[in-house]
């Protein structure tokens, strides 16, 4: 996956979706946790999808496809408005593949700094959205 300047940039009011494929991403009360947004330790980015006017069904289909690519269970998703990510001085880089995908990048090198940003985004996301 590589980012591409020809892709439309992520606007502040866009809805981003982080599919949660593990119980570590939420509490018993379905509060999204910082774990859901912490970056991949190898690539130092966090994979999200752009809602981009997709219907709920279409969005859940994307989630199922991702879960099926890995042997993982789709627990739900965390929806967060892009401005809450940008407020953490992080970038949101759209990628060509897969469709509607972007990476949250610019994570700091020290752990506590990463955690506070991930926590702020998680709190902005609120409760995990589950399939009806």
């Amino acid at each position: 996956m590589s980012d591409d300047n020809s892709l439309p940039p992520v606007l502040d009011d866009e809805l981003l979706v982080r599919f949660i494929l593990s119980s570590s991403g939420y509490t018993k009360d379905l509060a999204v946790t910082a774990n859901a947004f912490m970056p991949n330790p190898n690539t130092m980015d966090t994979s999200v999808f752009r809602h981009s006017g997709l219907s709920e069904n279409e969005m859940w289909k994307i989630g199922e496809q991702i879960a099926n690519l890995r042997p993982a269970k789709l627990h739900g998703r965390a929806d967060v408005i892009a401005i809450h990510v940008k407020k953490q001085s992080l970038s949101i880089q759209p990628t060509r593949e897969p469709k509607n995908h972007a990476n949250i990048t610019g994570w700091p090198s020290d752990k506590p700094s990463r955690k506070i940003k991930a926590l702020a985004i998680a709190l902005a996301a609120g409760k995990m959205v589950t399939r009806p």
Binding site: S23, S24, G25, K28, A34, P41, T46, A67, K115
Partner: protein
């Protein structure tokens, strides 16, 4: 009971039932076992203890024991981190609100309190026994690292009490 210690009372440290200085004699072993039994008994209480949380820790270890457990390339759980987490849980004062247990993509275990959209605390326990923490309490953002030597650092305890209050 939400917080076992009244913050209005100035304690220079957090009293705990966990054992302090180590020992090698038969008597030291005996005291350690007796203390552990007493602590286990208290933790069995769902009102006062953390009995369910130890089960949650086991479940997280099972769920996150393979590569890519989160679907985004996460590393498997680091066993030393899990072991250190058990020590941390035993160091929590009796009667404290139970935390939720999870894992981060780098394989470290997390212990967290999520009270509301304005109050949350997440702590990762590294294999080197560092507690990396991040807390949001209203407009305050507090984050850093505390070494863990078997007793709960006061800074962490204060954050827990502020978040669960």
């Amino acid at each position: 009971m939400r917080c076992a210690i009244n913050l209005d009372t100035v304690y220079p440290f957090i009293p705990t039932l966990a054992t302090g200085t180590t020992g090698f004699s038969k008597e030291a072993d005996f005291i350690k076992k007796e203390n552990k039994n007493n602590l286990s008994q208290l933790h069995k209480s769902f009102a006062l203890g953390l009995g369910g949380v130890f089960i949650e820790l086991d479940n997280v270890q099972n769920e996150c024991s393979v590569e890519n457990w989160d679907g985004y390339g996460a590393l498997p759980i680091n066993k030393t981190s899990a072991n250190n987490t058990e020590e941390l849980l035993n160091a929590l004062p009796i009667g404290l609100t139970a935390p939720s247990i999870g894992a981060e993509p780098d394989g470290t275990i997390t212990v967290g309190w999520y009270n509301s959209p304005q109050k949350a605390l997440s702590i990762s326990i590294s294999p080197e026994n560092d507690l990396h923490y991040a807390a949001i309490i209203g407009l305050r953002r507090i984050y850093g690292t505390e070494p863990f030597f078997g007793t709960l650092p006061r800074a962490i305890h204060e954050l827990i009490c502020l978040v669960i209050a």
